[in-house]
């Protein structure tokens, strides 16, 4: 696979020998084609922001794009673990912002996909330590070098949220079909800057439960949030296995969840990929099995 990140970096527009240090008051260089900066946010914790960021980043990298995933969850970093890169993290986002190291020192390259990089968050610091303007500048710098800058937003609506959002042009709002998650998503949507382009991902959908009427459907959720629907991700046991291993679920063969993330990535690239209706695959036999506690849920 060609090293696309290098290609972008060496694009003619980039001044030769440009320092990758954060230069706060340096005049902006010749116009570089900026990548897309996209924040993945939800308000509520535990709805799958980090998983979504990791898998979309990986899928976009597979599609040949240069991608950086930024962990904006200072103090509670997890994107490194989900990507299986936790042993390779040495410097982090705050080191870059405080000019203790260069951008390249902090970026961690994925083992398999060389065009996927991670900007880890600091684990021993607090979200309030990150000034919004510097975060915006950092994202901007990353946009100059990567086609996609995916920012994993922390839960909550405080400073960490503002930092994650400040440099983003687009937002993917992740929610699940639960009252609390939809409520928090609604709140977050109201707090996002008006000029941000909003898309919705409904995660952890269980088609069998929707069919039975024991879970809100995607239509129910989006009747309330009214955003452009970017994708629907079914709930699956594979996601837990993937997280255990530190591999993205899109790498697990036959995973519906992985396939859903891949489709979302293609939609992000402008392809017209229909959202399947996730038919309930259970039949009489599997229902008996699951009632007995056997077989897959």
């Amino acid at each position: 696979m060609p090293d696309l990140e290098r290609d972008v970096q060496d694009a003619p527009a980039a001044p030769a020998g440009a320092s990758s240090q954060l230069q706060l008051d340096a005049p902006s260089a010749a116009p570089v084609k900026l990548g897309r900066s996209i924040v993945v946010t939800s308000g509520k914790g535990g709805v799958g922001k980090t998983t979504t960021t990791a898998n979309l980043g990986t899928a976009l990298a597979d599609a040949g794009r240069s991608v950086v995933v930024v962990d904006a969850d200072v103090g509670l970093r997890n994107l490194d673990v989900v990507l299986g890169l936790e042993n390779r993290v040495s410097k982090h986002l705050l080191d870059v912002i405080e000019e203790k190291c260069s951008l390249d020192d902090a970026l961690v390259r994925d083992r398999v996909r060389r065009n996927l990089l991670l900007m880890p968050a600091a684990q021993n610091r607090e979200k309030d330590d990150v000034p919004e303007e510097k975060m915006a500048l950092l994202v901007r710098q990353l946009q100059e070098r990567f086609e996609f800058v995916l920012i994993d937003c922390p839960a909550g609506i405080e400073q960490g949220f503002r930092n994650a959002v400040v440099g983003a042009q687009e937002a993917i709002v992740v929610t699940t079909p639960e009252v609390s998650a939809v409520r928090d998503a609604d709140r977050v949507i109201g707090l996002l800057p008006r000029n941000i382009e909003l898309k919705l991902v409904v995660n952890r959908v269980r088609p069998a439960m929707v069919k039975k009427g024991t879970m809100m459907s995607v239509a129910d959720v989006n009747a309330i949030l009214r955003l452009d629907l970017l994708g629907v991700v079914p709930d699956e046991r594979e996601i837990i296995i993937a997280t255990n291993r530190g591999t993205p679920v899109i790498d697990i063969e036959g995973s519906e969840t992985g396939a859903a993330f891949r489709r979302i990535a293609r939609r992000m690239l402008g392809e017209d990929v229909p959202i399947p209706s996730f038919e309930d695959k259970s039949n009489f036999v599997t229902r008996i099995m699951s009632t007995l506690g056997l077989g897959r849920s």
Binding site: P177, D186, G190, R194, D220, R287, T291
Partner: protein, 177 residues
């Protein structure tokens, strides 16, 4: 065994409709409490109307939204000191809707009222389309902020003179009280 059969044949309650309903109510109250400017404007306009008919004890009043079990309601407790006399009401109403200006201002405000009315309603009472809600909010705030009493039909209603319309009503008596 019976337990097992019960588990197998039991039809679970279709709780998704319950989730939908709870979500609808909780979001209505969230959204209202997040738009205090709109709430204050609405309260002000309601009081303007009530004051034409009643003497109100404004310090003792309490207007708020309540998320009751099955519905979202506007609760108002407004102590009345006195009901106005017939003549006082007639006077208050005449001042509120100046006769000379009645025709033109009615025509002028009709469309504005319709726009504001539907916008305000969208912002609070329904679960509106997201992008529309955003616009609706600003639309609802802007005219209220710039011409606070215009739509309420209060004495200041000859603010209309500022519009490009020929101001036939420029000679109307200045509002009193």
């Amino acid at each position: 065994m019976i337990d097992f059969l019960a588990k197998f044949f039991r039809r679970e309650e279709a709780s998704s409709s319950r989730a939908r309903e709870r979500l609808r109510l909780v979001l209505m109250s969230d959204r209202v409490s997040l738009a205090p400017d709109i709430f204050d404007a609405m309260k002000g306009e309601m009081l303007d109307v009530l004051r034409r008919y009643l003497e109100i004890d404004e310090r003792g009043m309490d207007v708020h939204f309540e998320n009751a079990e099955r519905q979202f309601a506007l609760m108002a407790n407004i102590p009345v000191r006195e009901v106005k006399t017939h003549d006082a009401i007639a006077l208050a109403r005449r001042v509120a809707v100046p006769e000379g200006a009645e025709f033109t201002s009615a025509k002028q405000t009709a469309s504005a009222d319709a726009a504001n009315g539907s916008a305000a309603q969208q912002a609070t009472m329904t679960v509106p389309r997201r992008r529309r809600r955003r616009r609706a909010r600003t639309a609802a705030i802007a005219p209220l902020a710039s011409q606070p009493n215009d739509d309420a039909g209060t004495p200041q209603s000859n603010d209309d003179a500022g519009t490009p319309q020929p101001n036939d009503d420029a000679g109307a008596p200045p509002p009193s009280g």
